[in-house]
């Protein structure tokens, strides 16, 4: 697979560069990505085995147009039908899939579309993930918001009308520990009806603590379900441990969270196999925890600061649409979020077919809401995680969605 990820930031010390290159070039220098690190909780679960058995044996080229046609005639799309719908043989059926997906989305969600915004509160990171703008070897402006700054940004966002917030950090346990995240979530509860987090994976007790701080939804992206490929991309740091990340959603539910979301980052590896694993991961979670609200995302790779060559490779908009339609038909009840990684035209189209939730007023930088929302420049800003493709404000998004005949919903949630 093509590798446009590796680059050296200017200003790295010689020692740092040497270690970086060793990590990149010498697999024996890296830790075992399947071994839990100290402090990482192991849980009893068979979900991983079930998902990975299907992942390993999935030969998408074996499916034919007849298989796809048969799948589309079935009332219930099961695992086998889902596999057919993700295969290349299903590409000519995209319009039919979209039509059926639209009906399913309408049946389960009506014409609603949920709006939310992410708030990055820190971009320190201890991991070396080669495709990510926050990686520890990328020379960017690092920042961690103080509680006053967090509250300031939250007020700005809440004043715009938003009622749901997703709090994000880089993955640094030393710079953004669980208490820091928890305090930020307590502040968020003052200004927002619903609070979710997308932070580094935690143990059950930590999720319990965050739930007590007002969080009810946890998003963790597996990046890729291909553990060998994962090993090549996540070269250092606690994120390197693939199975601990896989079990994050389950630990979150064990900690009392109401809902979880997950996905692969499409474009890192074989997207069809990653999409299959994403769907099955959420499917088996729902079977084991029937009360859990399940949500899927569909992020594709985006360019980052200091490396504009990163792209989602073979995952074009048509392929992404196929994946989303397959998700919708396999998991008709699940929420599907499409982030500002995607363009205005794609998001406007996909909310009519399969997506139920989109972000607006997005910044993936730190502390720059003042400049983005009010046009006031500030020097104290941390750099962004990736470039966004749809910069629409909350107000514009609200108007645009209404104009598309959809019903923007700001809150559908009670913290009980």
């Amino acid at each position: 697979m093509e590798n446009n990820y590796l680059f050296d930031s200017e200003g790295l010390s010689e020692a740092a560069l040497e270690r970086k290159h060793k990590l990149e070039n010498d697999p024996s220098f890296r830790t075992d990505h399947m071994e839990y690190m100290e402090g990482q909780q192991k849980i009893e679960s068979d979900i991983r085995d079930k998902v990975m058995a299907a992942f390993e044996s999935y030969d998408y080229n074996a499916y034919t147009a007849l298989d796809v046609s048969r799948a589309l005639q079935k009332t219930t799309i099961g695992v086998e039908e889902f596999k057919a719908l993700l295969s290349p043989a299903a590409e000519p059926f995209l319009e039919q899939m979209a039509e059926r997906a639209r009906i399913e989305t309408r049946k389960h969600f009506g014409n609603t579309v949920y709006l939310f915004t992410p708030l990055y509160i820190a971009n320190y990171c201890e991991n070396y993930c080669v495709y990510c703008g926050f990686n520890c070897y990328n020379k960017i402006r690092r920042m961690k918001l103080s509680y006053e700054q967090i509250e300031h940004d939250m007020k700005l966002i809440a004043d715009s009308g938003m009622e749901e917030i997703l709090i994000l950090t880089g993955e640094s346990k030393s710079m953004s520990d669980v208490r820091y995240i928890g305090e930020a979530c307590k502040l968020a509860r003052k200004y927002f009806r619903m609070v979710g987090v997308e932070v580094y994976p935690l143990n059950v007790d930590d999720y319990k603590y965050l739930h007590e701080c007002g969080v009810d939804y946890v998003t963790v992206f597996q990046e890729t379900y291909d553990s060998d490929r994962y090993e090549q991309l996540h070269l250092a740091g606690h994120k390197r441990v693939w199975p601990y990340r896989f079990e994050a959603q389950e630990r979150a539910l064990m900690g009392g969270m109401r809902g979880v979301a997950g996905s692969a980052l499409l474009g890192l590896s074989d997207f069809r196999k990653d999409a299959l694993a994403t769907g099955l991961h959420m499917y088996y979670l729902q079977r084991k925890y029937p009360h859990a609200e399940i949500s899927l995302s569909c992020p594709r790779l985006r360019p980052i600061i200091n490396n504009d060559k990163i792209d989602p490779l073979d995952v074009g908009e048509k392929q992404l649409c196929q994946v989303l339609c397959a998700y919708r038909l396999f998991l008709p009840f699940a929420g599907i979020t499409v982030s500002s990684r995607e363009s205005k035209s794609f998001r406007d189209g996909i909310v009519k077919i399969a997506a139920t939730k989109i972000s607006a007023g997005v910044s993936t930088g730190i502390g720059d809401h003042e400049s983005k929302y009010n046009g006031t420049e500030s020097d104290a800003e941390g750099d962004e995680q990736f470039e966004i493709a749809d910069p629409r404000s909350f107000e514009t998004m609200y108007k645009d969605m209404s104009a598309e005949g959809l019903q923007p919903v700001l809150n559908d949630y009670i913290y009980v």
Binding site: I103, R106, K107, H108, F109, G110, N111, T112, G161, E163, R193, Q286, P290, H291, A292, E293, I294, F333, S402, G405, L406, Q407, V409, L410, N411, D412, Y413, I414, V416
Partner: protein, 257 residues
């Protein structure tokens, strides 16, 4: 339809037997939907109404229509009770439709928890309308717990599959003295009509309207179907002959005294 044929729920009288859902279509269509449906009761999800959004659903519901807040999102009795109390605080009145689900895939109601919540809320003076899986024992428990009506599902919410639980709903209609309101899964006016012919007191629908090409027109169609079904029920349906025609000479015609 005779004006004295009223639907009575918890001592409140309604002329219409069509309960309208509101969650799946644009707020701007609510007024037209209510008018064309002739609806006097409209549901709303408390979790959705609990918003700062300028376009709150509460502002779109025409005056004179009774609100039926539901507890969707509740996973157990305790959560349902808290949501119902919040509805009252928000000014949604005393009616409450209990919805308790601990399965996010099919959204099937949890009957046991529903009985518990009904008992608590009825004691607090709510007019409790529990959504339930059609089971006679549960329905009897709901009556004893103080429910004002019983709302069995026809098929899973949003499925538009019609009266999949037909025979079990019929048992409730035959055995329970409260209004039986068929809720969830009714996808077509003809299915609503059939439920009313069976003796259901009312029908509730949301997805069937929301997924229609012309929502106000479909609301009108449902109104007519529900009225027709009610009228047929009141008039006494003719018998259905299962095997062939009825013989003119009766089998017992030879008997002399």
């Amino acid at each position: 339809m005779e004006n004295d044929d009223k639907l009575i729920i918890g001592g409140h009288e309604f002329g219409s037997r069509f309960i309208l859902g509101s969650g799946k279509y644009s707020l701007s269509l609510i007024k037209a939907a209510v008018e064309n449906a002739g609806a006097e009761l409209i549901t709303l999800a408390v979790r959705r109404a609990n918003t700062k959004d300028n376009e709150s659903i509460l502002d779109h519901i025409p005056k004179g229509v009774t609100l039926l807040p539901n507890t969707s999102g509740a996973r157990n009795a305790e959560e349902a009770v808290r949501i119902a109390r919040l509805a009252r605080e928000l000014g949604c009145g005393d009616f409450v439709k209990i919805e308790i689900m601990r399965d996010t895939k099919y959204l099937l109601p949890d009957n046991a928890e529903t009985i518990k919540a009904t008992e608590i809320l009825a004691k607090e003076g709510f007019v409790v309308m529990p959504y339930m899986y059609p089971d006679l024992n549960t329905a009897r428990d709901l009556v004893n717990a103080g429910a004002a009506s019983v709302m069995p599902l026809a098929s899973p919410i949003g499925s538009n599959k019609g009266l999949a639980t037909r025979d079990f709903i019929q048992i409730l209609i035959d055995e329970i003295d409260l209004p039986i309101i068929v809720d969830a899964g009714i996808g077509r006016p003809s299915q609503a009509c059939e439920a009313m012919e069976m003796g259901a007191a009312a029908v509730m629908s949301n997805t069937a309207l929301a997924t229609a090409g012309d929502l106000p027109m479909m609301a009108d169609a449902f109104r007519k179907a529900i009225e027709a079904g009610r009228q047929a029920y009141l008039s006494g349906l003719g018998r259905v002959l299962v095997r062939g025609a009825s013989p003119s000479d009766t089998l017992t015609g030879f008997l002399r005294d």
